[in-house]
């Protein structure tokens, strides 16, 4: 029962990693709990705050909280900038 976590853009830079896998039971069960947990550990060294971090679950952008399930792919990233 795991969740795959990916990092992109400035968030990946600050986190110093591109991906990690966590036990679902360690994520706190919801997206925001996972974000806060990740911010408290992985992001702490990069000095990121939660308001800078955008999120997706299974490649769909999410702005609020939602429960996480086994096999979910969660991503944390900075604001998009293309073109």
């Amino acid at each position: 029962m795991t969740v795959d976590i990916l990092f992109f853009g400035k968030v990946a830079d600050k986190a110093g990693i591109r991906q990690l896998k966590m036990e679902l039971s360690d994520t706190g069960g919801s997206l925001l709990a996972l974000r806060d947990k990740a911010l408290g550990t992985v992001f702490a060294a990069g000095g990121l705050d939660a308001t800078q971090v955008q999120m997706s679950v299974n490649q769909v952008r999410v702005t609020g909280d939602m429960p996480l399930s086994d096999g979910d792919e969660v991503a944390f990233f900075s604001a998009f900038s293309g073109g």
């Binding site: 990916l6 997706s56 991503a75 900038s81």
Partner: protein, 158 residues
């Protein structure tokens, strides 16, 4: 139903070749418009050697397709082409190319304009600018959407 093609390219983007193909595929359209965006060799920080565009395989391609589909819904176009680079893009290279075909000019102009405004801040890409400052040091900065980019986007949803 508009013909839509979207491309995410790690290799060189040849807008001229894409446009030649687009013209051939839309010979009977009354109006064709294209836009080519290139990496400038200078920025406010100094001399730019290249950009690096981080991308999320799957989500990035879908964001390009979603933006193109929204343009096709909104404007009376017959065909749209969107091509965007990812990875390392050197100064002088094309980073983005869009083309629109319609019966009359206004829809094609507006669709191309709309596509670019949305790509700037809603394509799932993260842009880093790398180069040399005027003092000779290196820089490597993530580029966030500007207020201008936000204002450009708001034009379509006032």
């Amino acid at each position: 139903m508009a013909a839509i093609e979207t491309l995410l390219l790690q290799e060189a983007l040849d807008g001229q070749a894409l446009y030649a193909r687009f013209i051939a595929a839309n010979r009977l359209s009354g109006a064709l418009v294209s836009f080519s965006g290139r990496v400038r060799d200078t920025s406010a920080t100094g001399a730019v050697s290249h950009l690096y565009l981080d991308w999320y395989p799957g989500m990035t391609e879908r964001s390009l397709a979603d933006i193109a589909a929204a343009a096709a819904d909104r404007f009376e176009v017959e065909a749209l082409l969107v091509a965007h680079r990812c990875g390392e893009v050197r100064a002088g290279e094309e980073i983005v190319f869009v083309a629109a075909a319609s019966a009359h000019r206004r829809a094609a102009f507006e669709a191309a304009d709309y596509l670019m405004d949305r790509l700037k801040s809603e394509a799932a890409l993260w842009k880093r600018e790398v180069g040399t400052t005027l003092e000779g040091g290196g820089f490597d900065d993530w580029i966030e959407p500007t207020q201008k980019d936000s204002a450009d986007l708001k034009r379509w949803n006032p």
